[in-house]
Amino acid sequence: MSQGNGTTWAWLKTALVIAAGDGYGADEWRTEYGGPRTATSGYRTPEHNHSVGGAMDSRHMHGDALDLNNDSGTQTEWNNMFYAAQRANADYIESQTESKLDHVHADWRNH
């Protein structure tokens, strides 16, 4: 969907109301990780959310949630994305029980 590098996913920042340089959000997550990441889901309309099987009240519909793909599919990459989300001040980060190994889901619902 998008290889974030701090500027190319401006469409996400707008939808997520997550500004660069504020110590949180998509850019911060990518910076803390230390390299390009693949975003697989950002803002969703209710219709789109329904079509992809999202939860009925998913934070993606509020525009403050983001999924980053685990490109290598390894536990190490998942863990590093998880830590980076923490450092990006994500309010809630799903456990692997919830989001599985293929991506990390984080949101900034309290920002």
Binding site: N5, G34, G35, P36, G54, A55, D57, S58, R59, H60, A65, N79, N80, F82, Y83, A84, A85, Q86, R87, N89, A90, D91, Y92, I93, E94, S95, T97, E98, S99, K100, H105, A106, D107, R109, N110
Partner: protein, 265 residues
Amino acid sequence: MMTGLHYHKLALVIALAAMNSALARGQSQPGALARLQSSDHSERRSGFYSLLSSVDSSGSSLSYRARNERLAAFARQQPAVGRGLIGLLERENAEPAAQVSEDRYIGDLIAAVAALRDPNAVHALAGAINTGRLATEGLAILGDAAVPAVLTEAERLDYPTRVSALLTLSEMVTITPAPTISNENRGQIRSILLRALDDSNRFAREAGLDGLVAFPDTVVRRAVARVAAQDPLVLHDGGKLRYPVRERALTTLGKLDALWPRARS
């Protein structure tokens, strides 16, 4: 133009509305509280949102934070509500398999419990320490009450928990307004953050650096300067070499020197 009589009528209407609202809360609250203890996950979830909506008569026009603050204020008047929420989070922590991907429920529950600012919530929040800032900030603002539990989590072998606990401790000593932390607890936090600088996990080292800003002494400065010069982590980012931990250490050094020049010696 409104006359004095109009104002009296308006005041009466507002007072009646407030009484009705309180009455409605009184009627719905026991039912919602009972549902929080249900053995059925969806029933507990539903009870939680009933309780939350009972304090938000505006129909969700309140901000996320304001709604939780209102629920916390209500819990201060009705202690059974706070106890119910804390017990609910402890229950959900113990049943992670029941959690559904992208369901906002667990995050909303953590936010509600954190907003209570209740020392009795330490165990519940510590059980959710791996879920992000809602939980870690909720623990950090409790200060002394949360230190023993967070120190225990920081000693765990699994890295996500350890890193989360280190971040919490760092936040505890740097947030404003500063929570109450005894000198003894500050000493323990300083020790564990210093030790984190030698952790094999990059994020644990960074979490340690964040909190050491609060300890302006020569031992800390020397340790941070060593990390700034020698940390081994190198990342290849877009064709450039980056040393993220060294960069973080330099930031920490800058803050130490700016705030407490005496730490340079």
